[in-house]
Amino acid sequence: MATKVSHGDDAATGSRRTPFLVELYRSALGKKYLMAISGIVFMGYVLAHMLGNLKLYQGPEEFNKYAEFLREGLLTPILPESGMLNLLRLVLLVSLVVHVVAAVQLTRMNKQARPESYRSKRDYVAADFASRTMIWTGTIVLLFVAYHLADLTWGWVNPAEAGATVYDKVVASFSVPAVAAFYLVANLALGVHLYHGVWSLFQSLGINNRRFNHWRRALAVGFTVVVVGGNLSFPIAVQVGLIS
Protein backbone atom coordinates (compact mmCIF):
# COMPACT_ATOMS: atom_id res chain seq x y z
CA MET A 1 0.00 0.00 0.00
CA ALA A 2 1.31 3.35 -0.98
CA THR A 3 0.45 5.03 2.30
CA LYS A 4 2.82 3.06 4.48
CA VAL A 5 5.91 2.30 2.46
CA SER A 6 8.01 4.82 4.35
CA HIS A 7 9.47 2.32 6.80
CA GLY A 8 13.00 3.07 5.65
CA ASP A 9 12.55 6.69 6.67
CA ASP A 10 11.27 5.67 10.09
CA ALA A 11 14.43 3.69 10.71
CA ALA A 12 16.59 6.55 9.50
CA THR A 13 14.96 9.03 11.86
CA GLY A 14 15.55 6.68 14.75
CA SER A 15 11.90 6.01 15.65
CA ARG A 16 12.97 2.41 15.96
CA ARG A 17 14.52 3.19 19.26
CA THR A 18 11.26 4.38 20.77
CA PRO A 19 10.22 1.69 23.25
CA PHE A 20 7.39 -0.44 21.90
CA LEU A 21 4.98 0.36 24.72
CA VAL A 22 5.57 4.09 24.29
CA GLU A 23 4.88 3.81 20.59
CA LEU A 24 1.75 1.76 21.30
CA TYR A 25 0.60 4.33 23.85
CA ARG A 26 0.53 7.08 21.21
CA SER A 27 -2.64 5.61 19.74
CA ALA A 28 -5.95 5.53 21.59
CA LEU A 29 -6.09 1.82 20.96
CA GLY A 30 -2.68 1.38 22.52
CA LYS A 31 -3.77 3.45 25.53
CA LYS A 32 -6.53 0.90 26.03
CA TYR A 33 -3.92 -1.87 25.97
CA LEU A 34 -2.00 -0.16 28.73
CA MET A 35 -5.18 0.53 30.70
CA ALA A 36 -6.01 -3.16 30.47
CA ILE A 37 -2.51 -4.23 31.53
CA SER A 38 -2.44 -1.80 34.44
CA GLY A 39 -5.96 -2.97 35.27
CA ILE A 40 -4.70 -6.54 35.53
CA VAL A 41 -1.99 -5.32 37.91
CA PHE A 42 -4.70 -3.73 40.07
CA MET A 43 -6.80 -6.90 39.91
CA GLY A 44 -3.89 -8.88 41.29
CA TYR A 45 -3.40 -6.23 43.93
CA VAL A 46 -7.01 -5.93 45.13
CA LEU A 47 -7.34 -9.73 45.28
CA ALA A 48 -4.12 -10.15 47.27
CA HIS A 49 -5.07 -7.19 49.49
CA MET A 50 -8.47 -8.69 50.26
CA LEU A 51 -7.11 -12.18 50.88
CA GLY A 52 -4.38 -10.86 53.17
CA ASN A 53 -6.84 -8.81 55.15
CA LEU A 54 -8.96 -11.88 55.84
CA LYS A 55 -6.37 -12.45 58.58
CA LEU A 56 -8.28 -9.76 60.49
CA TYR A 57 -10.63 -12.60 61.41
CA GLN A 58 -7.76 -14.60 62.90
CA GLY A 59 -7.14 -11.93 65.49
CA PRO A 60 -4.55 -9.21 66.18
CA GLU A 61 -1.56 -11.52 66.47
CA GLU A 62 -1.92 -13.19 63.07
CA PHE A 63 -2.83 -9.93 61.37
CA ASN A 64 0.09 -7.97 62.78
CA LYS A 65 2.41 -10.81 61.89
CA TYR A 66 1.14 -10.64 58.32
CA ALA A 67 1.74 -6.87 58.20
CA GLU A 68 5.27 -7.41 59.43
CA PHE A 69 5.80 -10.17 56.89
CA LEU A 70 4.93 -7.75 54.06
CA ARG A 71 7.67 -5.43 55.24
CA GLU A 72 10.29 -7.92 56.27
CA GLY A 73 9.44 -11.34 54.93
CA LEU A 74 9.08 -10.74 51.20
CA LEU A 75 12.27 -12.00 49.55
CA THR A 76 14.45 -10.88 52.47
CA PRO A 77 17.31 -11.20 53.04
CA ILE A 78 17.86 -11.36 49.26
CA LEU A 79 16.39 -7.86 49.15
CA PRO A 80 16.78 -5.27 51.92
CA GLU A 81 13.90 -4.83 54.37
CA SER A 82 10.78 -3.48 52.63
CA GLY A 83 12.67 -3.89 49.34
CA MET A 84 10.11 -6.11 47.70
CA LEU A 85 7.27 -4.10 49.20
CA ASN A 86 8.68 -0.89 47.73
CA LEU A 87 9.19 -2.60 44.40
CA LEU A 88 5.55 -3.65 44.38
CA ARG A 89 4.57 -0.12 45.40
CA LEU A 90 6.54 1.23 42.44
CA VAL A 91 4.75 -1.15 40.06
CA LEU A 92 1.41 -0.03 41.50
CA LEU A 93 2.34 3.64 41.27
CA VAL A 94 3.42 3.35 37.63
CA SER A 95 0.24 1.41 36.85
CA LEU A 96 -1.83 4.06 38.59
CA VAL A 97 -0.25 6.90 36.65
CA VAL A 98 -0.70 5.06 33.33
CA HIS A 99 -4.29 4.05 34.12
CA VAL A 100 -5.38 7.50 35.27
CA VAL A 101 -3.55 9.56 32.64
CA ALA A 102 -4.81 7.31 29.83
CA ALA A 103 -8.35 7.49 31.22
CA VAL A 104 -8.26 11.29 31.31
CA GLN A 105 -6.80 11.53 27.80
CA LEU A 106 -9.30 9.07 26.33
CA THR A 107 -12.24 10.72 28.07
CA ARG A 108 -11.18 14.05 26.60
CA MET A 109 -10.87 12.45 23.17
CA ASN A 110 -14.35 10.97 23.51
CA LYS A 111 -15.84 14.31 24.52
CA GLN A 112 -14.29 15.85 21.42
CA ALA A 113 -15.71 13.06 19.28
CA ARG A 114 -19.20 14.22 20.22
CA PRO A 115 -18.95 17.94 20.96
CA GLU A 116 -22.73 18.36 20.71
CA SER A 117 -24.60 15.78 22.68
CA TYR A 118 -27.99 14.41 21.73
CA ARG A 119 -30.84 16.76 22.59
CA SER A 120 -33.34 13.95 22.94
CA LYS A 121 -33.11 11.38 25.70
CA ARG A 122 -30.93 8.40 24.78
CA ASP A 123 -32.41 4.95 25.09
CA TYR A 124 -29.45 2.66 25.78
CA VAL A 125 -29.75 -1.01 24.89
CA ALA A 126 -26.39 -2.54 25.76
CA ALA A 127 -24.41 0.21 27.48
CA ASP A 128 -25.07 -0.50 31.16
CA PHE A 129 -24.64 1.69 34.21
CA ALA A 130 -21.20 0.23 34.95
CA SER A 131 -19.75 0.84 31.50
CA ARG A 132 -21.08 4.40 31.29
CA THR A 133 -19.77 5.44 34.72
CA MET A 134 -16.21 4.07 34.61
CA ILE A 135 -14.66 7.52 34.90
CA TRP A 136 -16.79 8.31 37.99
CA THR A 137 -16.44 4.99 39.79
CA GLY A 138 -12.72 5.23 39.03
CA THR A 139 -12.60 8.73 40.53
CA ILE A 140 -14.36 7.55 43.70
CA VAL A 141 -11.91 4.66 44.06
CA LEU A 142 -8.96 7.01 43.45
CA LEU A 143 -10.13 9.44 46.14
CA PHE A 144 -10.68 6.53 48.48
CA VAL A 145 -7.18 5.16 47.83
CA ALA A 146 -5.73 8.57 48.73
CA TYR A 147 -7.71 8.59 51.99
CA HIS A 148 -6.93 4.94 52.69
CA LEU A 149 -3.18 5.58 52.35
CA ALA A 150 -3.36 8.68 54.52
CA ASP A 151 -5.30 6.65 57.08
CA LEU A 152 -3.53 3.31 57.29
CA THR A 153 -0.21 3.59 55.43
CA TRP A 154 0.95 7.05 56.49
CA GLY A 155 -1.32 7.31 59.54
CA TRP A 156 -1.99 11.03 59.06
CA VAL A 157 -5.72 10.83 59.67
CA ASN A 158 -5.84 7.62 61.68
CA PRO A 159 -7.81 7.94 64.93
CA ALA A 160 -5.64 5.43 66.88
CA GLU A 161 -2.94 6.64 69.27
CA ALA A 162 0.65 6.86 68.09
CA GLY A 163 2.45 3.54 68.25
CA ALA A 164 -0.70 1.49 67.80
CA THR A 165 -0.42 -1.82 65.96
CA VAL A 166 -1.70 -2.20 62.42
CA TYR A 167 -4.64 -4.20 63.73
CA ASP A 168 -5.58 -1.48 66.24
CA LYS A 169 -5.32 1.16 63.53
CA VAL A 170 -7.71 -0.75 61.28
CA VAL A 171 -10.21 -1.30 64.09
CA ALA A 172 -9.96 2.33 65.25
CA SER A 173 -10.56 3.57 61.71
CA PHE A 174 -13.50 1.30 60.96
CA SER A 175 -15.10 2.09 64.30
CA VAL A 176 -15.82 5.59 63.00
CA PRO A 177 -19.20 5.24 61.22
CA ALA A 178 -18.33 7.86 58.57
CA VAL A 179 -15.10 6.03 57.68
CA ALA A 180 -16.90 2.70 57.52
CA ALA A 181 -19.58 4.26 55.30
CA PHE A 182 -16.95 5.78 52.98
CA TYR A 183 -15.28 2.38 52.82
CA LEU A 184 -18.57 0.73 51.84
CA VAL A 185 -19.36 3.31 49.16
CA ALA A 186 -15.83 3.15 47.71
CA ASN A 187 -15.92 -0.62 47.55
CA LEU A 188 -19.29 -0.63 45.85
CA ALA A 189 -17.80 1.79 43.31
CA LEU A 190 -14.84 -0.56 42.96
CA GLY A 191 -17.28 -3.39 42.34
CA VAL A 192 -19.09 -1.50 39.59
CA HIS A 193 -15.71 -0.56 38.09
CA LEU A 194 -14.49 -4.18 38.18
CA TYR A 195 -17.75 -5.54 36.78
CA HIS A 196 -17.12 -3.67 33.53
CA GLY A 197 -13.33 -3.48 33.66
CA VAL A 198 -12.60 -7.18 34.12
CA TRP A 199 -14.88 -8.04 31.20
CA SER A 200 -13.71 -5.13 29.09
CA LEU A 201 -10.00 -5.83 29.33
CA PHE A 202 -10.39 -8.97 27.24
CA GLN A 203 -11.79 -6.90 24.40
CA SER A 204 -9.11 -4.23 24.77
CA LEU A 205 -6.36 -6.84 24.69
CA GLY A 206 -7.97 -8.54 21.71
CA ILE A 207 -8.50 -11.77 23.64
CA ASN A 208 -11.57 -13.09 21.95
CA ASN A 209 -12.50 -16.63 21.14
CA ARG A 210 -16.12 -17.46 20.50
CA ARG A 211 -15.78 -20.70 22.43
CA PHE A 212 -14.68 -18.98 25.62
CA ASN A 213 -16.29 -15.54 25.35
CA HIS A 214 -19.18 -16.31 27.66
CA TRP A 215 -16.69 -16.99 30.46
CA ARG A 216 -15.50 -13.41 30.40
CA ARG A 217 -18.66 -12.07 32.03
CA ALA A 218 -18.71 -14.94 34.52
CA LEU A 219 -15.12 -14.17 35.49
CA ALA A 220 -15.91 -10.47 35.91
CA VAL A 221 -18.90 -11.20 38.14
CA GLY A 222 -17.07 -13.85 40.15
CA PHE A 223 -13.97 -11.72 40.67
CA THR A 224 -16.05 -8.70 41.64
CA VAL A 225 -18.16 -10.63 44.13
CA VAL A 226 -15.13 -12.23 45.79
CA VAL A 227 -13.05 -9.05 46.09
CA VAL A 228 -15.84 -6.64 46.98
CA GLY A 229 -17.59 -9.16 49.22
CA GLY A 230 -14.42 -9.67 51.23
CA ASN A 231 -13.64 -5.98 51.42
CA LEU A 232 -17.14 -5.02 52.50
CA SER A 233 -17.08 -7.56 55.29
CA PHE A 234 -14.23 -5.83 57.18
CA PRO A 235 -15.88 -2.52 58.14
CA ILE A 236 -19.20 -4.32 58.70
CA ALA A 237 -17.48 -6.81 61.02
CA VAL A 238 -15.93 -3.95 63.01
CA GLN A 239 -19.22 -2.03 63.16
CA VAL A 240 -21.19 -5.02 64.43
CA GLY A 241 -18.46 -5.87 66.91
CA LEU A 242 -17.27 -9.10 65.31
CA ILE A 243 -13.77 -7.63 65.20
CA SER A 244 -12.65 -5.37 68.01
Binding site: H7, K32, N110, A113, R114, D123, Y124
Partner: protein
Protein backbone atom coordinates in the same frame (compact mmCIF):
# COMPACT_ATOMS: atom_id res chain seq x y z
CA UNK B 1 -52.35 5.92 12.87
CA UNK B 2 -51.75 9.44 14.08
CA UNK B 3 -48.37 10.40 15.44
CA UNK B 4 -46.63 13.46 16.71
CA UNK B 5 -43.14 14.05 15.34
CA UNK B 6 -40.52 16.20 16.97
CA UNK B 7 -37.92 16.67 14.26
CA UNK B 8 -34.52 18.33 14.44
CA UNK B 9 -34.51 21.12 11.86
CA UNK B 10 -31.25 22.78 10.97
CA UNK B 11 -30.91 24.91 7.84
CA UNK B 12 -27.22 24.26 7.28
CA UNK B 13 -23.98 22.99 8.82
CA UNK B 14 -23.40 26.09 10.91
CA UNK B 15 -27.00 27.21 11.39
CA UNK B 16 -28.54 26.81 14.82
CA UNK B 17 -30.93 23.87 15.03
CA UNK B 18 -34.12 23.25 16.98
CA UNK B 19 -36.89 20.70 17.33
CA UNK B 20 -40.08 21.38 15.36
CA UNK B 21 -43.32 19.54 16.00
CA UNK B 22 -45.37 18.02 13.19
CA UNK B 23 -48.46 15.87 13.11
CA UNK B 24 -48.44 12.76 10.93
CA UNK B 25 -52.07 11.82 10.35
CA UNK B 26 -53.77 8.83 8.74
CA UNK B 27 -50.58 6.81 8.48
CA UNK B 28 -51.00 3.18 7.49
CA UNK B 29 -49.38 0.77 9.96
CA UNK B 30 -48.03 -1.05 6.90
CA UNK B 31 -46.17 1.95 5.56
CA UNK B 32 -42.46 2.17 6.13
CA UNK B 33 -40.93 4.80 8.36
CA UNK B 34 -39.54 6.69 5.38
CA UNK B 35 -42.88 6.54 3.56
CA UNK B 36 -44.40 8.16 6.63
CA UNK B 37 -41.79 10.93 6.38
CA UNK B 38 -42.55 11.24 2.64
CA UNK B 39 -46.21 11.86 3.47
CA UNK B 40 -45.33 14.45 6.10
CA UNK B 41 -43.04 16.13 3.57
CA UNK B 42 -45.79 16.21 0.93
CA UNK B 43 -47.98 18.04 3.42
CA UNK B 44 -45.16 20.46 4.19
CA UNK B 45 -44.51 21.12 0.51
CA UNK B 46 -48.26 21.67 0.00
CA UNK B 47 -48.17 24.28 2.73
CA UNK B 48 -45.19 25.96 1.09
CA UNK B 49 -42.78 24.89 3.83
CA UNK B 50 -39.36 23.32 3.52
CA UNK B 51 -39.58 19.52 3.62
CA UNK B 52 -37.65 17.58 6.25
CA UNK B 53 -34.32 16.62 4.75
CA UNK B 54 -33.33 13.00 5.30
CA UNK B 55 -31.08 10.55 3.48
CA UNK B 56 -32.28 7.43 1.70
CA UNK B 57 -31.42 5.42 -1.35
CA UNK B 58 -32.21 1.74 -1.73
CA UNK B 59 -34.89 1.48 0.97
CA UNK B 60 -34.01 -2.20 1.16
CA UNK B 61 -31.69 -2.03 4.15
CA UNK B 62 -28.53 -2.64 2.15
CA UNK B 63 -27.14 0.72 1.04
CA UNK B 64 -26.49 2.25 4.45
CA UNK B 65 -27.65 5.69 3.36
CA UNK B 66 -30.58 6.16 5.71
CA UNK B 67 -30.27 6.49 9.42
CA UNK B 68 -31.34 8.76 12.24
CA UNK B 69 -31.93 8.66 15.94
CA UNK B 70 -35.54 7.69 16.62
CA UNK B 71 -36.53 8.10 20.27
CA UNK B 72 -32.92 7.94 21.38
CA UNK B 73 -32.04 4.78 19.46
CA UNK B 74 -30.06 4.63 16.22
CA UNK B 75 -32.41 3.34 13.49
CA UNK B 76 -35.26 3.22 16.00
CA UNK B 77 -36.57 0.60 18.39
CA UNK B 78 -36.39 -2.55 16.26
CA UNK B 79 -33.09 -4.43 16.41
CA UNK B 80 -31.23 -5.51 13.25
CA UNK B 81 -33.27 -3.05 11.21
CA UNK B 82 -32.19 -0.01 9.23
CA UNK B 83 -34.48 3.04 9.35
CA UNK B 84 -35.86 2.28 5.88
CA UNK B 85 -36.87 -1.23 6.92
CA UNK B 86 -38.68 -0.01 10.00
CA UNK B 87 -42.45 -0.14 9.66
CA UNK B 88 -45.01 2.02 11.35
CA UNK B 89 -46.64 -1.01 12.97
CA UNK B 90 -43.64 -0.96 15.31
CA UNK B 91 -45.22 2.09 16.93
CA UNK B 92 -48.52 2.75 18.67
CA UNK B 93 -51.21 5.14 17.54
CA UNK B 94 -50.66 8.45 19.27
CA UNK B 95 -46.92 7.92 19.89
CA UNK B 96 -44.54 10.83 19.92
CA UNK B 97 -41.41 10.22 17.85
CA UNK B 98 -38.30 12.31 18.38
CA UNK B 99 -36.05 12.37 15.29
CA UNK B 100 -32.50 13.61 15.55
CA UNK B 101 -29.50 13.34 13.25
CA UNK B 102 -26.40 11.26 14.09
CA UNK B 103 -24.24 13.39 16.32
CA UNK B 104 -20.47 12.99 16.08
CA UNK B 105 -17.64 15.34 15.20
CA UNK B 106 -16.76 12.91 12.40
CA UNK B 107 -20.30 13.23 11.01
CA UNK B 108 -21.01 16.96 10.64
CA UNK B 109 -24.66 17.83 10.09
CA UNK B 110 -25.42 18.92 6.53
CA UNK B 111 -29.08 19.75 6.97
CA UNK B 112 -31.90 18.57 9.25
CA UNK B 113 -31.38 14.80 9.61
CA UNK B 114 -28.62 14.54 7.00
CA UNK B 115 -25.01 14.11 8.08
CA UNK B 116 -21.79 13.89 6.09
CA UNK B 117 -20.26 10.44 6.59
CA UNK B 118 -17.16 11.07 4.44
CA UNK B 119 -14.95 10.27 7.42
CA UNK B 120 -15.78 6.61 6.76
CA UNK B 121 -14.42 7.03 3.24
CA UNK B 122 -11.16 8.40 4.68
CA UNK B 123 -10.84 5.20 6.73
CA UNK B 124 -11.46 3.01 3.68
CA UNK B 125 -8.97 5.02 1.65
CA UNK B 126 -6.32 4.26 4.24
CA UNK B 127 -6.40 0.54 3.49
CA UNK B 128 -9.88 -0.90 3.06
CA UNK B 129 -8.98 -2.64 -0.19
CA UNK B 130 -6.54 -5.16 -1.62
CA UNK B 131 -3.91 -4.21 -4.17
CA UNK B 132 -3.90 -6.58 -7.13
CA UNK B 133 -2.42 -6.29 -10.58
CA UNK B 134 -5.11 -5.85 -13.16
CA UNK B 135 -5.51 -8.34 -15.96
CA UNK B 136 -8.02 -10.94 -16.93
CA UNK B 137 -10.20 -12.17 -14.10
CA UNK B 138 -8.68 -15.20 -12.35
CA UNK B 139 -10.58 -18.46 -12.30
CA UNK B 140 -13.11 -18.76 -9.54
CA UNK B 141 -12.14 -20.82 -6.48
CA UNK B 142 -8.46 -20.65 -7.42
CA UNK B 143 -7.62 -19.80 -3.83
CA UNK B 144 -9.19 -22.22 -1.34
CA UNK B 145 -10.93 -20.50 1.58
CA UNK B 146 -12.01 -22.45 4.64
CA UNK B 147 -15.76 -22.34 5.15
CA UNK B 148 -15.51 -20.82 8.61
CA UNK B 149 -13.19 -18.08 7.33
CA UNK B 150 -15.53 -17.34 4.48
CA UNK B 151 -18.47 -17.16 6.90
CA UNK B 152 -16.58 -14.85 9.22
CA UNK B 153 -15.58 -12.58 6.34
CA UNK B 154 -19.17 -12.48 5.13
CA UNK B 155 -20.41 -11.58 8.63
CA UNK B 156 -18.01 -8.64 8.64
CA UNK B 157 -18.81 -7.70 5.06
CA UNK B 158 -22.48 -7.30 6.02
CA UNK B 159 -21.54 -3.81 7.28
CA UNK B 160 -23.38 -1.22 5.19
CA UNK B 161 -21.47 1.76 6.58
CA UNK B 162 -24.60 3.52 7.86
CA UNK B 163 -22.82 5.03 10.86
CA UNK B 164 -25.27 3.76 13.51
CA UNK B 165 -22.34 2.37 15.50
CA UNK B 166 -20.77 5.81 15.82
CA UNK B 167 -24.15 7.42 16.47
CA UNK B 168 -25.08 4.96 19.19
CA UNK B 169 -21.68 4.90 20.88
CA UNK B 170 -21.59 7.15 23.96
CA UNK B 171 -17.97 7.90 22.96
CA UNK B 172 -18.69 8.54 19.29
CA UNK B 173 -16.21 5.79 18.43
CA UNK B 174 -15.88 4.24 14.96
CA UNK B 175 -14.54 0.88 16.10
CA UNK B 176 -17.34 -1.38 14.86
CA UNK B 177 -17.28 0.02 11.33
CA UNK B 178 -13.49 0.00 11.08
CA UNK B 179 -13.13 -3.46 12.55
CA UNK B 180 -15.75 -4.88 10.17
CA UNK B 181 -14.04 -3.32 7.18
CA UNK B 182 -10.71 -4.72 8.37
CA UNK B 183 -12.08 -8.17 9.15
CA UNK B 184 -13.75 -8.67 5.78
CA UNK B 185 -10.26 -8.51 4.24
CA UNK B 186 -8.06 -9.72 7.09
CA UNK B 187 -9.90 -13.03 7.44
CA UNK B 188 -9.38 -13.97 3.77
CA UNK B 189 -6.20 -15.16 2.01
CA UNK B 190 -6.38 -12.28 -0.44
CA UNK B 191 -6.16 -9.82 2.43
CA UNK B 192 -3.05 -11.30 4.06
CA UNK B 193 -0.21 -9.53 2.21
CA UNK B 194 -1.35 -6.11 3.38
CA UNK B 195 -3.03 -7.21 6.62
CA UNK B 196 -0.85 -5.42 9.14
CA UNK B 197 -0.16 -2.27 7.15
CA UNK B 198 -3.87 -2.01 6.48
CA UNK B 199 -4.75 -2.45 10.15
CA UNK B 200 -2.30 0.16 11.39
CA UNK B 201 -3.28 2.69 8.72
CA UNK B 202 -7.05 2.32 9.09
CA UNK B 203 -6.99 2.42 12.88
CA UNK B 204 -4.91 5.56 12.89
CA UNK B 205 -7.16 7.37 10.42
CA UNK B 206 -10.17 6.23 12.45
CA UNK B 207 -8.68 7.82 15.56
CA UNK B 208 -8.34 11.15 13.74
CA UNK B 209 -12.10 11.30 13.26
CA UNK B 210 -13.77 9.35 16.06
CA UNK B 211 -13.66 8.60 19.77
CA UNK B 212 -12.20 5.60 21.54
CA UNK B 213 -13.84 2.32 22.43
CA UNK B 214 -14.78 1.52 26.02
CA UNK B 215 -16.46 -1.79 25.20
CA UNK B 216 -19.99 -0.80 26.12
CA UNK B 217 -21.41 -2.82 23.23
CA UNK B 218 -23.99 -0.21 22.29
CA UNK B 219 -22.75 -0.27 18.66
CA UNK B 220 -23.45 -3.97 18.31
CA UNK B 221 -26.99 -3.47 19.63
CA UNK B 222 -27.61 -0.59 17.21
CA UNK B 223 -26.07 -2.22 14.13
CA UNK B 224 -28.80 -3.02 11.57
CA UNK B 225 -26.61 -5.86 10.30
CA UNK B 226 -25.78 -7.33 13.71
CA UNK B 227 -22.01 -6.93 13.33
CA UNK B 228 -20.36 -8.43 16.41
CA UNK B 229 -17.95 -6.59 18.68
CA UNK B 230 -15.81 -9.72 18.37
CA UNK B 231 -14.43 -7.96 15.31
CA UNK B 232 -13.29 -5.09 17.52
CA UNK B 233 -11.23 -7.53 19.60
CA UNK B 234 -9.80 -8.94 16.37
CA UNK B 235 -8.85 -5.43 15.28
CA UNK B 236 -7.22 -4.71 18.63
CA UNK B 237 -5.17 -7.89 18.34
CA UNK B 238 -4.13 -7.16 14.78
CA UNK B 239 -3.25 -3.57 15.64
CA UNK B 240 -0.89 -4.70 18.39
CA UNK B 241 0.72 -7.19 16.04
CA UNK B 242 0.87 -4.56 13.32
CA UNK B 243 2.65 -2.09 15.56
CA UNK B 244 5.18 -4.74 16.47
CA UNK B 245 5.71 -6.17 12.99
CA UNK B 246 5.80 -2.89 11.12
CA UNK B 247 8.39 -1.68 13.57
CA UNK B 248 10.57 -4.76 13.15
CA UNK B 249 10.35 -4.53 9.38
CA UNK B 250 11.43 -0.89 9.56
Amino acid sequence: MNLTLRVWRQAGPDAPGRFETYEATDISPDSSFLEMLDLVNEDLIGQGEEPIEFMHDCREGICGTCGMMINGRAHGPQSMTATCQLHMRTFQDGDELVLEPWRASGFPIVKDLVVDRSAFDRIIEAGGYISIDTGSAPDANLIPVAKQDADLAMDAAACIGCGACVAACPNGAGQLFTSAKLAQLNTLPQGQPERYERTEAMVEVMEEHFGSCTNMGECEAACPKGISIDFIAMMNRDYRKAKFRNRRSA
